[in-house]
Structures are given as structure tokens and as C-alpha cells.
């Protein structure tokens, strides 16, 4: 049986040769729903391969640390089934990156479990390639000692202790890892944590398309039709040809305009002019965006600058404790007026009540929505809000401990006395009971650093299995 990637490479005679390569970006976040009409339209265009991204760090440190997925199992399976059936029906490669939201071992395992179940249920048989992204801790520690790890912003230098504290520690696999996996003659690639560009850049790079436009294309289509007007989740088609590519949403209501595509370079990026990858950088500052018609835009002009030193972006998450929250509102103007001092007084009272020595073994914080819950404003609002929402958050070594602190906090905040108090039967409105909720384990990003490496391939092992 000839694999989907072999068929594709054969079709092209192994090289671009001036031919067009059709790429479908099916989803920017697999597991929240892949719209079927646009995917069907994409398939009717006879694409050469399908790619989808499945995760990111946007969702916060919990998912990387805990191994849980951010998306629901039921919806994730539905999306995976849709893409597997689509790719296998045309016998074209399917490439999925950052399995299970965060791409560490438990996320990859769960995602591969779904893929195997779906294959069995649907009677699909294919060669499944996987890329593991968990970083060997001894390698990272060695790099720390050698001064080859640096922070990517406002976070402390990575230490060996922080490596040990991390529940999961992954690296972002680059295009190199995807190519190595595809070279194993596979039909489907499921990668752990990966650069979203690697998903879409690997096959074009194998065929020799120019890397500047390839990486630029990859960075845009990994968000599906988000680069369009209006932006959305529908599949997008990119046709790579010559020195550029043409973008077209597979939903007729979405238009890829020169302005909407150029503006997409801003999205969630620190610098719209460069796309930094483990193997180099795509400079897009001199890119051209021209309308093909009112729904399609041609993009060209990005340049590729190879990196002198390959690097890997490290992401780690460490457990902080167990979290309980208290949810309550207030509509009392006197309570609202002094709410910041009320919660501080209650914090003191609670510390005395729930400990023997007054020294908390927990963190208790209050968000007062209506005042400063979303942004830490330096000044109170000019007009006092009619209502506020108060969320107390307790992080403690155990869940029982966190709940105990939240319950005492609830009672003392409800009945807290203060000068001028009118509403002496209670300061708070609870939307339901119990108003104290278990929020599960709390995590923090322990690593977001870049590590120099001379062995990219050694960090991202590839395996193949027959389904």
C-alpha cells in the first residue's frame, strides 16, 4: 500500500516544478467544531493535504500542567473524525499539531486514543506518524548549565529546580520534525507541542517551494479563515505557486482582502514583520498583498533567513496548589463604597480563624468586578457602580483546605460589620448555593524560554504505527 505522502510526492515528481500546491487549513483549534460545509467545499477543490492546529498557550498553564484537554472529549472526537474521514476519502496527508490542547505526553496519548478508536469504528487503515515533544529533563538542565537557555520575557531565568517542579515540560517541534515524520511514509501525522507553521510548511518545504512564502502561508492558514472579512473558523484554501500564494476562504461569506490578510500578521504576535521559527525567520515586512478578485488575495515577497543557531521554545507548567472560589454579588451602596477595605478586614479575620498562628498556608485574593476585577485600575471609578460581583479565590495545599478557607470567608464577608452599615442581615447576594466552588488544581507557567540546541531531531522522536 502506497502512503498518502508518497502519492503526493510522486504526483509532483518530488519537486514543485512550477506547479500549484493546494493546502487546506481546516481548523485553528481542533476540538471546538470544524464547520462541515466549508470543509466539503475545500475537499471539492482537490487539495494536496489538510492541516489543523489543535492547541496553544493561550488557554493558560492549567492544561499543560494537568494533562487535561481544553476542549470537550465529545467535540474533539467529532472534529477528529471529520478530518480523518475527509483526508482518507481523498487519500491525502492529514497533519495535526499540538495534540490535545497543549501537546505533552498525556495530551498526545489521549488524542492518539481517539484516532485509534475512530479508525476502528470507521474501518480506516492508515500509517499513523507521531511526534513527541516532551523535553528530556537532563538535556534541558545541561543547557541551563551551559548558559544556552534564556527567558522570552518577564520570567526568571530557568533553573534546574524549576525544571523539576514542572508537571509537564515541552518544546515546540518545528518543520524539521514534521518532515522527519512524513519521510517515514505516513498518511496521518499527530504531533505533540509544535509550531503551528510546521504543520503547513513541511510538505511545501519537501517539494522545494520557496521558504519565505511557505512560512508566511503557514502562519496565516493555521488560523483557518481568521484572516478574512469577517474572520471565522471555516476552512481556508491556500494555493502555493511561484513566489507566492493565493488565499480563499471555503465559506463564500468570508473574503480574504489585501487589508484583512495584512492585518492578520498583527494577531497575537509581538512583531508583525517577522515569523520566528526554530530553523530561521521569515521576514514579511516587504510582503505584497494584491486582490485576485473580491474574495481572494495573492501574497508574495516574504524572505527566509536561516538561523545560525537552531533553537527550541520551551513551555513548562508547575502546580501551585488546589483552588476554591467563592461567588457573590452586592447591590448595597454602603458596602460597595468601602468594599476594598471590607475584604482586607475579612482577610485578616479569616487568617486568625483558620490558622493557629495567624500565618496563612494559603493565598486568598479578592476580585471585585465593577471596581477592578478585570484591570488593576489605580483609581476607583468616577461613578460608583450600582452592583458589584465579588470573587474570592483561595489556593491552598489541599482542596479541603482551600474549601475551608472559602467557607469561612463567605460567612465573615456576608456578616462583616462596618460603620454606617444599613443592611445588617447580610452584605452579599449568592447566585446559588453552595457559593463556594471547587476549581481544581492551580498551575503557573514555570518555563517559557528558548533553548539553543545542536540536535533538533534528538528532541522530537518520531514513531509510526499501522492502523
Amino acid at each position: 500500500m502506497v502512503s498518502a505522502i508518497s502519492k503526493l510526492l510522486d504526483r509532483f515528481g518530488g519537486k514543485a516544478n512550477g506547479r500549484a500546491l493546494k493546502v487546506i487549513g481546516a481548523s485553528g483549534q481542533l476540538g471546538y467544531g470544524v464547520p462541515e460545509p466549508a470543509l466539503k467545499e475545500g475537499l471539492s477543490r482537490e487539495p494536496d493535504f489538510i492541516g489543523a492546529d489543535m492547541g496553544s498557550t493561550d488557554i493558560g498553564p492549567y492544561f499543560l500542567g494537568s494533562g487535561d484537554m481544553a476542549t470537550a472529549a465529545e467535540q474533539t472526537r467529532r472534529d477528529l473524525r471529520r478530518l480523518l474521514l475527509a483526508a482518507r476519502s481523498r487519500d491525502i496527508p492529514l497533519i495535526i499539531g499540538t495534540a490535545g490542547s497543549a501537546g505533552a505526553a498525556p495530551h498526545l496519548k489521549r488524542t492518539l486514543g481517539f484516532v485509534r478508536e475512530i479508525a476502528a469504528e470507521e474501518g480506516l487503515h492508515f500509517r499513523l506518524g507521531t511526534i513527541r515533544s516532551d523535553m528530556p529533563r537532563d538535556v534541558v538542565k545541561g543547557a541551563i548549565r551551559a548558559g544556552r537557555v534564556r527567558p522570552l520575557g518577564n520570567i526568571a531565568d530557568l533553573t534546574e529546580a524549576e525544571v523539576d517542579a514542572s508537571a509537564n515540560l515541552v518544546g515546540q517541534a518545528g518543520t524539521e520534525a514534521f518532515i522527519r515524520c512524513l519521510e517515514q511514509d505516513v498518511d496521518v501525522v499527530i504531533a505533540g507541542r509544535a509550531c503551528d507553521t510546521g504543520i503547513f510548511a513541511a510538505i511545501p518545504q519537501m517539494l522545494g517551494y520557496p521558504l519565505g512564502p511557505v512560512v508566511h502561508m503557514a502562519k496565516i492558514v493555521e488560523c483557518a479563515s481568521l484572516c478574512c472579512l469577517p474572520g471565522g473558523r471555516d476552512s481556508i484554501l491556500a494555493v502555493l505557486e511561484g513566489d507566492g500564494f493565493v488565499l480563499e476562504s471555503m465559506n463564500p461569506a468570508r473574503r480574504a482582502t489585501p487589508m484583512s490578510v495584512a492585518a492578520h500578521s498583527l494577531y497575537e504576535q509581538a512583531d508583525p514583520n517577522v515569523i520566528v521559527e526554530p530553523e530561521g525567520t521569515a521576514q514579511v515586512d516587504r510582503a505584497h498583498y494584491e486582490a485576485v478578485d473580491d474574495r481572494r488575495t495573492r501574497v508574495s515577497g516574504a524572505r527566509w533567513v536561516p538561523a545560525a543557531q537552531p533553537t527550541v521554545k520551551l513551555e513548562g507548567s508547575a502546580k501551585v496548589g488546589e483552588r476554591a472560589v467563592l461567588l457573590a454579588g452586592s447591590a448595597d451602596p454602603r458596602f460597595i463604597e468601602g468594599v476594598r477595605s471590607h475584604v482586607e478586614e475579612v482577610r485578616q479575620v479569616v487568617a486568625e480563624l483558620v490558622t493557629d498562628d495567624g500565618v496563612p498556608d494559603y493565598q486568598l485574593s479578592f476580585r471585585v468586578y465593577g471596581i477592578d476585577g478585570v484591570y488593576p485600575w489605580p483609581d476607583p471609578p468616577k461613578v460608583q457602580p450600582r452592583e458589584i460581583f465579588v470573587m474570592a479565590e483561595c489556593i491552598a495545599p489541599t482542596l479541603d483546605r482551600a474549601l475551608a478557607v472559602a467557607k469561612t470567608t463567605k460567612q465573615y464577608l456576608l456578616h462583616h460589620g462596618f460603620p454606617g452599615r444599613l443592611s445588617t442581615s447580610g452584605n452579599l447576594a449568592f447566585p446559588f448555593t453552595p457559593p463556594e466552588l471547587v476549581a481544581g488544581a492551580a498551575y503557573r507557567f514555570s518555563a517559557y524560554h528558548v533553548m539553543e540546541t545542536d540536535d533538533l531531531a534528538g528532541l522530537f522522536p518520531v514513531e509510526v504505527e499501522m492502523l
Binding site: 493561550d58 493558560g60 520575557g153 487589508m259 498583527l266 512583531d271 493565598q363 492551580a442 498551575y443
Partner: protein
């Protein structure tokens, strides 16, 4: 002038868990130029609005999309205890309140 009267998009988001990025996009060249050339658009002013160090604030005009990008360090990594906004999608409000 307030940004809500000047711009068609004013948004914030994480650029990775350690940085916040703000995109201010304009309908036309006139609005874009008015903002880009405003003497109040400088890192120290933005740093003052957000209570961060001026050297961590970067302002990048992006004329091809009639947009200005502002990038700054997050005070806390996304989702660490005490963070206000895990996605960083609601940190643009101080830009809306300021006069430009």
C-alpha cells in the same frame, strides 16, 4: 481625542504567556496618521498608563494595515495566581480612557 472616536479596532491579547500586544487599527490614512503622529504616542506615556517600565514598551507602526502595534511585558505570566486576564483580551481599556 479618544481612541474610540479615532480607530475601528482597539484590542489586546497575549503574544505568548509573557507579553501583551495591543493592535489599534484605523479606517483610513487620516485617522492612522493622526494617531501615529500624536506626540502623546510614546513608550513612557503608555508605560505610565499601565504602570510598567518604559523600556518594556514597544510601539510599532504597521502602515500596510493602517495599524499601530504596542507590545509590553505582562506583569504576571498568563494564568499565574493573581493574573486578572488569562487571555489578555480585556487589557485595552486604559488606551480607551486616555486622550491622544
Amino acid at each position: 481625542m479618544k481612541l474610540a472616536e479615532l480607530a475601528r479596532v482597539v484590542r489586546s491579547k497575549n503574544a505568548g504567556p509573557l507579553k501583551l500586544t495591543f493592535d489599534i487599527m484605523f479606517e483610513d490614512e487620516k485617522g492612522y496618521q493622526a494617531f501615529v503622529q500624536s506626540p502623546t504616542l510614546e513608550p513612557a506615556r503608555i508605560a505610565g498608563l499601565y504602570g510598567v517600565a518604559p523600556e518594556t514598551v514597544e510601539i510599532m507602526p504597521y502602515p500596510v494595515a493602517l495599524a499601530v502595534k504596542i507590545v509590553m511585558d505582562r506583569k504576571l505570566p498568563s494564568g499565574s495566581p493573581g493574573d486578572w486576564d488569562v487571555y489578555g483580551a480585556q487589557q485595552h481599556a486604559p488606551l480607551l480612557e486616555a486622550e491622544w
